[in-house]
Symmetry: C2
Subunit: 236 residues, 2 copies
DNA sequence: TAAACTATGTGTGTTAGCGTACATATTCGC
DNA sequence: GCGAATATGTACGCTAACACACATAGTTTA
């Protein structure tokens, strides 16, 4: 079995990959597409390849905040095997691209019957929890510049290049701040020579400096994700 | 088997309870006790009876924030079965009381071998994730009064009475705000006749009004926890 | 190429929460 | 009961982010 371009799928045993492959469907995800809505029952799960999906909590008054980001290191739809079947959040495509789609029932079946598959999914879930928890702390303590930096790092880590297609308005929705706040923060980063941007396009040109502008939250999440991923070396 | 006074243990099949009971040890947890430290390997898990445990993320500079609360509806130490063995947070006793303690390896064993046990633990984990995520949103958008109200509700839901033993200093650590901010917010709630407090003791005297002072976050988390709990009706 | 739309920039006043400093009140140890 | 330790109250200036208003600059459509 060749590279499946998604860390979780790659970590499966060759056997499991063979079982899985015929069930996977490659689909395109377009920017802004809502994969599932708050409390909606999930019919499919998605393993991003080069797309990024954000999990957003949306309040009654419409204000929102991202609680986690999922790229080719993960899977969208953990509620399927966690037993709840839905979650009170929205999953929205933050960066257009492709993903493998799998019927929810198939994942659930394999999760229940295959211990390896289960461990894989649970370890990933734990790293997702860490990300969410760190977001909570970050929202409490850090400035918009720090959070924007963290967010950009999380994004480019999940993309093949350092460019992302994303308006400041959308970033503001993710971070749960005003669009003007993002304009200001992005302006600062640009003045520092860390990024350049123009109308819907952002390029990171100095990653080390971006890391230094970010808070420790990025590092904590990354380190924990790496630690958990290191358990998941491929077996055959 | 009588009532075990912890929702999760109660939801086990009678068989499972019989297996479990000899392994459980009733322990006292004192206020402020650290159950486990950041990235510390877990030797035991704890099922609170009338105690409350907070999961805190602590930053390098010492500032902190609570990401979830665990009472007799849950278990402290999910990392044991999620596969990571540790998490980058601290678990600290927020309200003194008792808990059942179980060796980590026992829980892990039963989690892997007993599908019922597994589903139970995973559903609970999902509700914990919801709580963490909602905390992230709440930290972003809501005032100290709202957050304090939410926090008080979460606490008294897990206690037998409406009184809690807790200094404003500790609450401030949980919420990740200044102690003075808590003093001010608590003063407002007292002036409104919602709570009374004196030196380390807080009493909720008008719960409905406390709910109206809180943000929607409390409701969202509670509803989701109830939904997930409703799956876990005891089987025999 | 003009008009409509979308994205970004900028300014002004407001406010919640912060940091700091210190005062007062309550409880504990001896 | 007295001093030390701990908990709470209050005040002042400061700052980041807010809400709102509007200007400018690209991009799409007709």
């Amino acid at each position: 079995m060749g590279q499946l371009k998604n860390t979780l799928l790659n970590a499966l045993t060759t056997d499991a990959q063979h079982r899985m492959f015929p069930l996977l469907q490659r689909v395109n995800l377009s920017l802004g597409e809502v994969i599932y809505e708050t409390s909606e029952k999930l019919d499919y799960v998605y393993f991003p390849i080069d797309s990024i999906v954000s999990l957003l909590y949306v309040m009654i008054d419409g204000s929102s905040a991202e609680v986690s980001v999922i790229g080719n290191e993960g899977v969208v739809g953990i509620a399927v095997f966690m037993g709840g079947e839905s979650t009170p959040n929205r999953a929205i495509v933050q960066s257009a691209g492709t993903a493998y789609r799998l019927p929810a029932c198939e994942l659930r079946r394999q999760f229940n019957s295959e211990p390896d598959m289960r461990m894989l999914m649970l370890r990933y879930t734990q790293s997702l929890i860490t990300q969410t928890a760190q977001t909570a702390v970050c929202n409490r303590h850090h400035s918009i510049v720090q959070q924007l930096s963290r967010w950009l790092l999380l994004s480019i880590d999940r993309l093949p290049s350092n460019n992302l297609i994303m308006t400041q308005e959308l970033i503001a929705n993710m971070l749960g701040v005003r669009r003007e706040g993002v304009t200001e923060a992005a302006g600062k980063l640009q003045k520092l020579g860390v990024i350049t941007y123009k109308r819907g396009h952002i390029s990171v040109i100095d990653r080390p400096q971006l890391e230094s502008q970010s808070c420790e939250c990025y590092e904590v999440v990354k380190r924990e994700a790496d630690r958990l991923e290191s358990y998941m070396e491929k077996k055959t």
